[in-house]
Symmetry: C2
Subunit: 205 residues, 2 copies
């Protein structure tokens, strides 16, 4: 069993390797990755060894080979069709986030209760009314729903997404969601606390 923080680091390594490939590199080392990411080289070697990737001492890792392996582990071989529920400030920022498609997530529609927003587009994805969610998810084989609705509406929106047939939910609302499919929570307050801990530790030195 691979610890969840290691999975998140693998996603970060994947991103880094993609950038190296764009720069025309074909080989790298844990040392070079460590310099680029600010993660210890021994941590990178340990994480990659979870998947039998040991690299050759002195030669390092073949970038294409690592990308292929990581693609399979992270489920990026295919594109995950994704919708955003709640087309407010946050929903529009997420749907407008360029580069998320090359990471394997294609945001193909947004949904909202506000009829004034219906028909508008964000980065080519149209805003639909929430009543069309079930039909749209089934017709377009949507796998992921991102929740960016107000706190009070989140549980109901999650249940509607589950009933429509999505396989996972990315939840931005500040409450725990109870459904039977996987839910990943995002809360910037948690990232901010990680930041303040680093600030305090640095001042203490």
């Amino acid at each position: 069993k691979i610890p969840k923080p290691a999975i998140k680091r693998l996603a970060v390594y994947y991103r880094c390797l993609q950038r190296m490939k764009e720069e025309g590199k074909d080989k790298t080392s844990s040392k070079e990755m460590a310099q680029r990411l600010g993660i210890k080289a021994c941590q990178i070697r340990k994480d990659l060894s979870y998947f039998g990737e040991f690299g050759k001492r002195g030669v390092g890792y073949n970038i294409d080979n690592l990308l292929e392996k990581l693609k399979a582990i992270l489920g990026l071989e295919s594109v995950w069709r994704t919708v955003v529920i709640g087309a407010g400030n946050l929903g529009k920022a997420i749907a407008g986030y360029k580069g998320i498609k090359e990471q394997g997530f294609d945001i193909i529609a947004l949904f909202d209760v506000d009829r004034r927003k219906v028909g508008k587009k964000v980065n080519n994805a149209k805003i639909h009314h929430i009543d069309e969610l079930e039909e749209f998810v089934k017709k377009n084989d949507v796998k992921i729903a991102i929740l960016s609705v107000p706190k009070e509406a989140a549980q109901q929106a999650a249940e509607a997404a589950e009933k429509a047939g999505v396989e996972g939910i990315l939840n931005f609302s500040p409450r725990v969601i109870n459904v039977s499919i996987p839910v990943e929570n995002v809360d910037i307050a948690v990232s901010l606390k990680s930041l303040t801990f680093q600030i305090i530790r640095r001042k203490g030195k």
Copy 2:
């Protein structure tokens, strides 16, 4: 040295304990927290033991005591004055995120290059022109800057925040920022990959 993922979990425990206190509870157990959070009870006990918090077998933990300890560790005893740089969709969603103040972060202003936005308010915080950043940070003892500017503007905005005197940066732009103060990166693509890994693992069972 406490691993970073443990810090993030402590922030999640802090949030959970605050909610329990709001419900009028004064004691809890790792088992009860585990049920609420979907984190293993043994993981919770291990994380709290980093700070000498062992709880009494059968009695559990005193919620006020845990909150006090966590507050000190996570640097939440005081409020961290925070600004948002980039008052677009994402910046407005962050400044409008209710409940972040009770987590210890007070977003007191936003900054933007677009003069048409200057003077507007988001959740009581005014939008200023980016040229006023340095004077505002010094005058109001601002500690944290949140970057929600386009990718091309991120490094320059980070340097301006560092020069103005902030102590840490929360970076949403999809690029690595080089400054000498702590930077915490947020990327929903990483959270989405953690979600797809859980979806695949669940389907494989």
